[in-house]
């Protein structure tokens, strides 16, 4: 039995350290991983727990991220708790197996420390990798700071392993901005954390020899569609379980999580929709603008998948203009979050103007001033009853102003 660790009521942890502590407390059976910046410390910290007898499980250091996810799938099918971590290129290398994991309905947790995707090579945080996972069939939950990274990693096991879900879960945090920034984190004690996560319940496991199981069968046009439809429904249905797990977590810690986090939206006239560590920047900017008399608010999808279509619509039903921020190169299209938020708002009777801002690529700093500019532009749209800027703009990039499309509602 692994040795317990006494934690302080408040610890000073960065996002990586917070995740590794959550992984330790969840008493994982198999961690199979391959290190990559900026998520490397998660694997290193876990390695130190292994070396010092703080975990009982197996630690398999494989030769690539593709192998890491493959070993995780094999381990999960063998009926135990499984987790790994990655970023960026490692995530891209895993992608084939991400689809295979969700298609086989094996629960496992992948902590993704978001980082830009090459080329050019870049180790800093943006959401290129997170977006590349959006059709992979995983639950994707986004943490905006170290505390949330810790909390949501514990929640992730409980969500994915629930018999009504049985799907793999990603917990995202921003590279360096969250992963390497030390903050105050209030952890649970080991026993409390494990009790919350609960024992793993094996299901259709390869190590129960009373019943043969076949994982990873082939289906063609006769059955593939039905399998994918069921998987899609299971992902949408996981929303209910996510809500339940968040409610249970609140009972335990007082910390409340929602699939869509709304901030100062009760009377908001303009709003920003954002993901990741920028949410905190934008909230601060909105507070400041309220002092200037602009009724600004912030909506942040905590849950990127399943996409909270109704909750986004509800959160933004009464605003006049909304800016959707995408921290990923959209490459010949509107930003992905913009597209999804716009589609959720389309059936509103009085739908707001929706604009798209591409920002922070490759870890480019995103300032409070920029967030305020974006909100002020929304205010201008609201006042003019028209979109006064390009629909899509790049903010914080060098060179002449870069924007696309001027289609107006009229």
């Amino acid at each position: 039995m692994a040795e317990k660790v006494e934690l302080n009521e408040i610890e000073v942890w960065d996002g990586n350290y917070a995740v590794s502590q959550a992984l330790r407390q969840a008493q994982i059976d198999v961690v199979a991983a391959y290190p990559i910046t900026p998520s490397t410390p998660i694997v290193e910290n876990y390695g130190s727990y292994v070396a010092n007898g703080l975990v009982d499980g197996e630690f398999v250091m494989v030769e690539s991220e593709h192998a890491a996810m493959s070993a995780c799938v094999g381990a999960a099918a063998a009926g135990g708790r499984v987790a790994t971590a990655t970023s960026s290129q490692g995530f891209m290398l895993m992608i084939e197996v991400l689809y295979q994991a969700s298609g086989m309905r094996v629960p496992l947790v992948l902590t993704v420390v978001n980082r830009a995707v090459a080329s050019p090579l870049n180790v800093q945080g943006d959401h290129g990798d997170m977006y590349a996972g959006r059709d992979s069939g995983w639950v994707q939950i986004d943490a905006f700071n170290a505390q949330e990274a810790y909390d949501l990693t514990l929640c992730a096991f409980k969500i994915g392993e629930d018999m009504r879900v049985r799907l793999p879960v990603m917990v995202h945090q921003d590279g360096f901005l969250t992963s390497h920034t030390a903050q105050n984190v209030r952890p649970l004690q080991d026993e409390e954390a494990y009790k919350f996560v609960g024992d793993y319940k094996p299901y259709e496991e390869m190590l129960d020899f009373t019943k043969a199981v076949t994982y990873g069968a082939q289906t063609e046009e006769n059955w593939h569609f039905e399998h994918k439809a069921k998987q899609h429904k299971a992902l949408f249905d996981s929303a209910k379980v996510i809500d339940e797990v968040f409610a249970e977590f609140k009972k335990l810690t007082g910390r409340e999580y929602k699939r869509v986090e709304s901030y100062m939206m009760e009377d908001a006239e303009v709003a920003i929709v954002a993901l990741g560590s920028s949410v905190e920047t934008v909230r601060y900017a909105a507070e400041q603008l309220r002092e200037e008399g602009i009724k600004a608010g912030v909506v942040a999808p905590r849950c990127f998948r399943p996409f909270p279509f109704d909750e986004i619509k509800e959160a933004l039903a009464n605003v006049k203009s909304v800016a959707v921020l995408d921290r990923s190169a959209p490459m010949g299209a509107m930003g992905a979050l913009f597209n999804e938020v716009s589609s959720a708002l389309y059936t509103l009777e009085n739908r707001p103007f929706v604009t798209n801002y591409i920002y922070g690529l490759g870890g480019r700093d995103f300032s409070i001033e920029q967030a305020k500019t974006i909100l002020k532009e929304q205010k201008a749209n609201a006042d003019a009853d028209d979109i006064t800027t390009n629909i899509q703009q790049f903010i914080g990039v060098r060179g002449p102003k870069l924007g696309f499309f001027e289609t107006k509602r009229s």
Partner: protein, 317 residues
């Protein structure tokens, strides 16, 4: 592990019915013979991972499965990683006491064709062998990408015609030599590495048992004659494999701990390689006068390899 009878082939072939006869492999395909033999070689429970390939697509087409055992397929290249994960999970759960039956004996096995073993899954296999998981990897070597219609692999021998290394007016087929996976796996320090053939079924059964009993990662390359792509009559699979082992195109041998080499089958009459080549459509073009030099080259390399194996066996290195 209870050793099952290996004296009588008929009896042996039905000891453990864990691989269902109803599957979609071609008539005459040696894959199913090899798989059945592996599964009959042990009474232990099996956890099997299989790479994408002929074996996989022919045995697990929903809603059917040919596998009356624990079986997983993830992708083309990663059965070695999948079995690594399953084996690690077994160790973890055994230690923690969460296995349903902790005393149930179990063996971990991975199957791959030469496409997934020699080429696309090479790194995954190398990593799993290096990490020392307790499993046996069996390559069903039919020397081409048969599942996708017969393209070259790095296991395809020189001179063979494949759809991506064709014989034509200015080409005699594949120009490169077959990769020596046995040497590569032995160089990893794997405790047991062997090349076996289903026509020598007793030797094969013993080799499988040895691998399954050996703690640590074992690698076995098996000759799997491919009636469809090698182009011979499906009824002749074993005859063709006899020619493969008797011409020494496929020498049958083992290497223990990377150093101790033992030849497991010594043909009484070594046949000229022409007899093996002539029995298959994929080598038909080599019998044109302008390609005679290729046959000579193949024979020379077979002779040199055989001499090398014998020297190593004698020197115990």
């Amino acid at each position: 592990m209870a050793i099952t009878s290996i004296k009588n082939l008929k009896e042996f072939s039905t000891v453990n019915e864990r691989f269902e006869g109803a599957h979609l492999l071609c008539p005459g395909c040696a894959h199913s013979m090899i798989v059945r033999e592996l599964m009959n070689a042990t009474d232990d429970n099996l956890v099997i991972a299989t790479n994408t390939g002929c074996l996989e697509v022919s045995t697990a087409v929903y809603p059917y499965t040919s596998w009356d055992t624990s079986w997983i397929h993830i992708g083309f290249e990663n059965a070695a990683s999948a079995i690594s994960g399953a084996e690690a999970m077994y160790k973890a759960r055994k230690r923690k006491g969460t296995l349903k039956d902790p005393d149930a004996p179990v063996k971990f096995v991975a199957f791959g064709g030469d496409g997934s073993t020699y080429d696309i899954g090479f790194q995954w296999l190398s990593g799993a062998i290096e990490r020392g998981h307790d499993f046996t990897y069996i390559c069903l070597d039919n020397e081409n990408y048969a599942n996708t219609g017969g393209q070259r692999s790095s296991s395809t021998p020189i001179g063979a015609h494949t759809s991506t290394a064709q014989a034509g007016r200015v080409s005699y087929g594949k120009k490169q030599k077959k990769k020596d996976m046995i040497a590569i796996m032995a160089a990893h320090g794997a405790p047991y590495v062997a090349q076996l053939a289903p026509n020598k079924w007793k030797i094969m059964a013993k080799g499988f048992q040895k691998a399954l009993e050996t703690e640590g990662p074992c690698f076995i390359n098996t000759v799997s004659a491919c009636t469809t792509e090698w182009k011979f009559n499906p009824k002749d699979t074993i005859h063709l494999t006899d020619l493969a082992t008797d011409t020494l195109m496929f020498p049958v041998y083992e290497i223990i701990n990377g150093t101790e080499l033992n030849i497991l089958y010594r043909p009484k009459n070594v046949l000229p390689v022409e007899e093996y080549l002539a029995a298959q459509g994929r080598y038909k073009h080599l019998f044109k006068p302008e390609n005679k030099h290729v046959i000579e080259k193949i024979q020379k390399e077979i002779d040199a390899k055989w001499e090398y194996l014998q020297r190593r066996e004698e020197a115990r290195v």
